[in-house]
């Protein structure tokens, strides 16, 4: 299978070009839908205004006294959550494309199967990063203070996380080919991931077994890493572990996605 996509007809240059074509098409379609654009802008703001006041009082507990700026704790959680949920449900769009025959039309072209996925994932990543930046900008007047290098690195983490969840979501969508199968599956995964990540509630207030369970959730380490970056502890072990986990997740996510797109049942 690998041989097939790496035949001389597929130089790396052509894969990039094809990715760009697929990305452009996907982006154009996203921007054409006004409802979607509005939701895209309002979602992070809603998080900020509705969750913010709730989380402020427990800041000290979450950060174990490492900081007094609530937003240094709160915003990292929000952008990680955004990276996860914003990308998790993109599979629904792919099922719509599949039903319309677009995926089959794509697959009958000589374009690299990886480009067909990568172009769509790239669109999702760009959307997420724009949402995250918007969220950061709005939080500044509300009191967010964080070093720019840490924030930049955090945006990279959000982008990688988005790429991971988007390609996994596309994989599951292509395998199930049905909204009815995808919806409960995604919801079933999303809820525990979110709770165990310690984004909404600090794990320290839970029993020991719950804390141990959350320790094996990579997302918790990613959130802790981004929080460290927002405090400016770029070289700290927390931020390095966060980076390690997000890179590992990305490699796994993209590999699974690429495999599914290459497989004939796709």
């Amino acid at each position: 299978m690998t041989v097939q996509t790496l035949t001389p007809t597929h130089r790396p240059g052509s894969v990039l070009r094809e990715t760009w074509i697929v990305f452009n098409r996907a982006m154009r379609l996203s921007l054409r839908n006004p409802m979607w654009s509005i939701l895209m802008l309002s979602q992070p703001l809603m998080y900020l205004f509705l969750f913010g006041p709730l989380l402020k009082p427990i800041t000290a507990q979450i950060s174990q006294g490492a900081t007094t700026n609530a937003y240094q704790v709160f915003i990292p959680g929000l952008i990680v959550q955004l990276g996860m949920f914003g990308a998790m449900f993109v599979g629904f769009g792919l099922i719509a494309e599949y039903r319309a025959g677009v995926i089959e039309a794509d697959r009958v072209t000589p374009a690299s199967r990886i480009a067909l996925m990568a172009g769509r994932v790239l669109r999702d990543v760009v959307v997420l990063v724009v949402q995250s930046i918007l969220l950061l900008v709005v939080s500044i007047p509300m009191g967010l203070r964080a070093p720019w290098d840490g924030v930049l690195l955090s945006l990279v983490i959000v982008a990688l996380l988005g790429a991971t969840f988007a390609s996994l979501s596309y994989s599951v969508a292509l395998i199930t080919k049905s909204e009815d199968a995808l919806a409960p599956l995604l919801n079933g995964i999303a809820m525990p991931l979110l709770l165990l990540s310690g984004i909404l509630l600090p794990m320290q207030i839970g029993p020991t077994w719950l804390q141990r369970l959350s320790d094996i959730s990579p997302l918790k380490h990613v959130v802790n890493g981004v929080r460290a970056l927002f405090r400016g502890d770029i070289g700290s072990s927390a931020s390095l572990w966060g980076l390690f986990w997000v890179v590992l997740l990305t490699v796994i996510g993209l590999a699974v996605g690429a495999r599914t797109f290459r497989k004939e049942s796709a």
């Binding site: 035949t7 098409r25 839908n33 677009v102 009958v108």
Partner: protein, 329 residues
């Protein structure tokens, strides 16, 4: 040879057990031919075509398509073929022209050329002024023609068309047939599926009749019809009581086969039906039996199908023209 397939088999795994969609298909398509795959719904036409277009892998069998080995060089096959699927290829929310241009660019066609070729195809396929329209605002027939533009945009030398005229009105069908003949004139080879008898008859140089995943007959439409023994004759009697007597007379005719009685109608097949009729009518008249009507028809592809499979293709398929006639009647 543009397509050469040997022993193509495809089995689908389903919850209710394996489905043998294609059970050993051999086929050859020469350069510049229009070949039609004729068969009822579920015969395996789409599955065979999707295998040849690299969309699904054969369970077994081999094929060379447009000079490339299907298994070893699927990318080579994809470069050289155009494929128009049975059920759409554009997103409802997308702009028609955008979908066409993006599709062309995935074949390596540059943007300027894709726009020029796309607009020209829009004119040729009777889609003027629809370039900037959202796909979902097009009529069924227009969307079908848009699918065809998508399949032709990179000027492929081999074109697969899966039921290209389904959903088109008679005018649009005739128009598309002309266009398909025009493609052949410019050197393209066309492999299409259809369950319309008249389409296979009028458009195709050669027909492969498929049923239950197997090719049951192959040849030029005329040759196939000649294989069916003789013309069909139908005698309508005023009175069903006379049917046994008439059947007896008919059975004594040299060369008469497939004698069947249905109420007051006696049907059979006989070579040169027109020339045996006068003496037959005299014999019936001499016995004092009255006839309400007589019909003689040249063998059709439906007769071919009936002879090969024992079933009629018309059972599940009417041409749009016929459907309209009936609606008007």
């Amino acid at each position: 040879m543009m397509i050469e397939a040997r022993g193509l088999v495809r089995t689908f795994k389903t919850k209710r057990g394996p489905v043998q969609a294609v059970q050993g298909v051999d086929l050859n398509v020469a350069d510049g031919e229009i070949v039609g795959f004729l068969g009822p719904n579920g015969a395996g036409k789409t599955t065979t075509m999707r295998m040849l277009a690299t969309l699904i892998k054969p369970t077994s069998g081999t094929a060379t398509v447009a000079g490339c080995d299907l298994a070893k060089d699927p990318v080579g096959v994809r470069r050289r073929i155009g494929y128009v699927p049975q059920s759409g290829s554009t997103l409802p929310e997308a702009i028609a022209g955008d979908e066409v241009v993006d599709h062309a660019r995935l074949y390596g066609v540059d943007k300027k050329r894709a726009i020029a070729d796309g607009r020209r195809l829009f004119e040729e396929l009777d889609l003027p002024g629809l370039w900037r329209r959202q796909c979902k605002t097009l009529s069924g027939g227009q969307r079908r023609r848009l699918d065809i533009v998508m399949g032709l945009i990179h000027d492929p030398k081999l074109i697969f068309l899966d039921e290209p005229t389904t959903g088109l009105d008679p005018q649009a069908r005739a128009n598309l047939w002309e266009h398909i003949r025009g493609l052949r004139e410019r050197g393209a080879t066309i492999f299409l599926t259809t369950h319309y008898l008249d389409e296979a008859d009028a458009l195709c140089d050669r027909i492969l009749v498929i049923d239950h995943g197997r090719i049951v007959a192959a040849g030029k439409p005329e040759e196939l019809k000649q294989q069916v023994s003789g013309d069909g004759v139908r005698l309508s009697l005023g009175d069903a009581e006379n049917a046994p007597a008439v059947t007896k007379i008919v059975e004594e005719l040299p060369g008469a086969v497939a004698v069947e009685t249905d109420g007051d109608v006696v049907g059979f097949r006989i070579p040169k039906g027109g020339s045996v009729l006068p003496s037959l009518l005299r014999t019936i008249d001499a016995q004092g039996i009255e006839l309400n009507g007589v019909e003689v028809h040249r063998p059709t592809l439906d007769d071919v199908f009936l002879t090969m499979t024992g079933r009629s293709l018309r059972d599940d398929s009417e041409t749009p023209a016929e459907a309209q006639k009936e609606a008007a009647a």
